[in-house]
Symmetry: C2
């Protein structure tokens, strides 16, 4: 290789992202949550505390509502979510986190905190803060739901 960092910013973003994701899945699997697939997790992550509609989940996870429905079906069978009728719209149902999801989420949050600490230890408090600050600002122009 030649000079310092030849990588484009996309790859630079992706590398740590994937490292974190891998850690989360590995820890979750060890703890017995080996039945969540990455595809399911991408949807599960977006379920809000008061439940979220399928269509909204689909949009945010960037899949079709059919796909989202398919994944929610599986997660429902596996005990991660529940569907409850939406009181404000008889067509809709709210996807809500069930017990198993809350428990898994607790573990996942723990891993995230752990990894963030490792990163801060490596970068130093100042650069870690700058990183989060820049990424948060970037969100304004890259996150459609910001």
């Amino acid at each position: 290789m030649a000079a310092e960092s030849e990588l484009n910013t996309g790859v630079l973003l992706f590398l740590p992202y994937r490292a974190l994701e891998n850690r989360i899945f590995a820890t979750l699997a060890e703890a017995g949550y080996d039945d969540v697939t990455p595809a399911q997790a991408r949807v599960l992550q977006r379920v809000g505390p008061d439940g979220t509609r399928l269509t909204e989940l689909a949009e945010q996870a960037q899949v079709t509502k059919q796909t989202a429905g398919f994944l929610v079906d599986q997660m429902e069978k596996a005990g991660y979510v529940r569907r409850t009728p939406d009181p404000t719209d008889k067509r809709a149902r709210l996807v809500c986190l069930a017990e198993r999801a809350w428990a898994a989420k607790e573990i996942a949050d723990g891993v995230v905190a752990e990894v963030e600490q490792e990163w801060e230890a490596h970068l130093g408090k100042r650069r870690m803060k700058q990183l989060r600050e820049a990424l948060t600002a970037l969100r304004e122009i890259t996150d459609p739901w910001a």
Copy 2:
């Protein structure tokens, strides 16, 4: 929502990454390269200038060699890559970029440059530099091939 940024660093990394990826695929598709799939692209990205072995592609893209082989087969048919015998090892073959891939890569590189400029315009030169600097440092502990 409550305070400022409640999002964990993983999500923060993923959001801009996906925004960039979406832009690349959209532009590529407009330019007639609508036959590369995301899965293929993840492998294609890793092909070095002098060709790369299937096994190495598989490792870096984090898929099995069977999967990598399957994707390379398709890209070979579509004219994106070529397989040439590895002069140093009769078992192996080198996957090399073909004409169509070079052309697509040029477009993709253009989009990346464009998006990076937009980001810099939004963040300012200083914060963009800090961002890349922090990400590059992070690579030391998150990139197995660093």
